[in-house]
Symmetry: C2
Subunit: 407 residues, 2 copies
């Protein structure tokens, strides 16, 4: 165990917080150098509370996706509020979470390479030694199941201890990415999982990513209704073979109210609700969805200006643009400017209305990223502010522990 932990530490060194960041704590928002990723801690906490209340009310567990925040500290905060653990997408993310003391982790993705599966099996043995520890993983191929079983056997031989890994069969419910078709193919995989003593067939992964950003609430509702039909049908076929489908897991911030109301899903994977990015905010809100607030911002500064436009120091090396450009946030009212793409290091700001004017040289401009997950991944730290973006103070610095944890 000590060896594994040491290996983890070597893989992802956790240096002391840089002095310049440490020195920020207790200072006003003005002291934050730009560009920087800033969390409105009050808004984030309200989002977490709303999600916890929502899950409690619906009697459903939540296991937020840590691929979004990549932070051990935020995973712990979510778990203190009631989350049962975290999802991750990568083996390296799981390693960071476990090394940070988060012992209930689900890799909601397929892992195929024997080297990576050896790391997965090592993690499964590591968390098995902790009370309440559990590792789960998704599969969508017979080959993947066989390799996972082999890796678990090898780890048992190596460590002299046995452990169980929970296995979710992923079905493609419309995402058109990973997963087998609902129905017979899923049954075959579940039966395959049952063959191996170290593998526990835990249930179904049924996540529809593309449904999250269908703009109309009605469309999202109808799409998830079809998903639920697919899940119920597949579950029935699997249970007819004498296998229990203990868990159905899925749902994102866009659709979670529907999975929660389905009576079929046991866990919600939604993660973005905590930060709410511009893309999710562009959705028509489902009346049943908690009112989540923007809590993640890029603070930037105007470094060049003219009569018609201004240029700030934030480009797409500090916010992801895969789901659209950032919107401009005015902590004191209506947005005054529109952000246009200025390349890797710049953003171009033009007035939002025909009567407006661009921001002046030196002005602070707050951006709401289009997509929070890959935005967070661009930063080493997030700066947590309490008391709002105008008069607030820096309360804590949150490390993006799994930034760049790609493998």
């Amino acid at each position: 165990m000590a060896t594994i932990l040491n290996k983890m530490r070597e893989m992802k060194p956790t240096p002391e917080l840089p002095a310049a960041l440490r020195a920020l704590i207790g200072k006003g928002v003005d002291a934050i150098d730009t560009p920087a990723l800033v969390i409105d801690l009050d808004a984030m906490q309200r989002n977490i509370t709303r999600m916890a209340d929502f899950a409690r009310k619906h009697g459903i567990r939540w296991r937020p996706h840590a691929k979004m925040h990549k932070s051990v500290a935020l995973a712990r905060l979510q778990m203190q509020a009631g989350a049962v653990g975290v999802c991750v997408q990568k083996t390296a993310e799981a390693e960071v979470m476990v090394a940070g003391g988060v012992h209930d982790v689900y890799i909601s993705n397929e892992v195929i390479h024997p080297h990576k599966l050896a790391r997965v099996a090592a993690l499964a043995h590591q968390v098995a030694a902790v009370a309440g520890g559990q590792l789960a993983i998704a599969v969508d191929s017979i080959e993947g199941v066989a390799r996972l079983a082999q890796a678990m056997n090898d780890a048992r031989t190596r460590t002299g201890k046995s452990a169980i890994i929970h296995v979710l069969v992923e079905i493609d419910v419309g995402q058109r990415r990973c997963g087998v078709a609902p129905g017979a193919a899923a049954v075959a995989l579940a039966l395959e999982v049952r063959k191996h003593a170290a593998l526990h067939f835990a249930g179904l992964q049924a996540y529809h990513g593309k449904a999250q950003h269908l703009r109309s609430a009605a469309e999202r509702r109808e799409t998830i209704s079809i998903v639920v039909d697919d899940v119920v049908y597949t579950r029935k076929l699997i249970e007819a073979k004498g296998l229990k489908v203990g868990l159905v897991t899925g749902a994102g911030t866009g659709t979670l109210v529907r999975e929660a109301a389905s009576g079929v899903y046991g866990e919600l994977q939604a993660g973005s609700f905590m930060f709410m990015d511009a893309d999710y905010a562009a959705n028509e809100r489902d009346p049943a969805q908690p009112q989540f607030e923007h809590a993640l911002f890029v603070k930037s500064q105007v470094i060049s200006s003219s009569a018609t436009q201004a240029v700030c120091d934030a480009g797409h090396k500090c916010h992801a643009i895969d789901s659209g450009l950032p919107t401009v946030h005015n902590p004191d009212g209506e947005a005054l400017w529109i952000f246009q793409n200025g390349g890797d290091e710049h953003g171009v700001l033009i007035p939002a209305g025909s009567q407006g004017y661009p921001p002046e040289l030196d002005a602070t401009v707050w951006l709401i990223p289009g997509h929070c997950d890959p935005t967070v991944n661009l930063h080493d730290h997030m700066i947590g502010v309490r008391g709002g973006l105008t008069h607030g103070k820096v309360e804590r610095i949150i490390r993006v522990d799994a930034r760049g944890a790609l493998t």
Copy 2:
């Protein structure tokens, strides 16, 4: 000086190479875990040699943009081949370069915040203590010039030593981002620079970013002809005031042959030639441009597959998509697959022709990133391979020293 160096080190800790990466050296390409950023060192070296030969032939200096590779080791490699120093876009990047021993650095961007200008001034004093050391910076506002002068004065008072910073007046030659209009506004700024003893008016920054990716060589040529006219006109006005325009700097990989042939530009800033991404490869090559090769790849692996498509483990957390999706590279021939966006952690691969088939589970897939600069910024290390992507061996690991150096 020691204090500044210590501060640099604290700001950007440079930990030992992780053991898993150290262990790769000498191994075959197969041993590289995915997804990973891989450099074909032979191709990169040929690109550098072609650029060095080109510059020598045209009697022009080259100062490649280190915002692209963000690596001290690669900056040194370029300087060994004849580059006079590097450009950077951010103060933090300049700090990383200087801390790594690169002492001729040009910040080709505007810096406005007094805190950042204090860092710039500290760097100027630091490199002034080194033989041949020099720091330069771009300006486009009177306020920016005044603040820079103030910061230089403060640093002189603090250190008890005087230093000079080279100042380039940025003119907007069509990029529509930073820079003042060619002509009178540039003259006014140059005169403003002259007022301050610690500022040396070094010349003009005239970079047309948007021209780099005009697809037709003729369009790029015509666009740069107009740029050159603007530069000549502005230079004439400034020189009429008794100020020498010692240097005109600009040019990217798409247009460099035109700036080089202009007789007006003194330095080329092109950086991407070294890696050549998919976006630059989509340009019609100017007959006068050296034939640069792709040298930067993302190695990925298929983790899920069906009869119609496959899914690999590389999404836009490991390659930038601002300038288009990656293309698929076949080291042994024609590209067989087309990459489609699969989100943050996945890529979807479909056959390139109607008769084709998707790659099999476990297959290695090589991607050519759409845009090299922000792709490199997503990674901590680049894995340098010698002898090709099929039978080559890992020769060295190159750290992305200035990854995430945003401020």
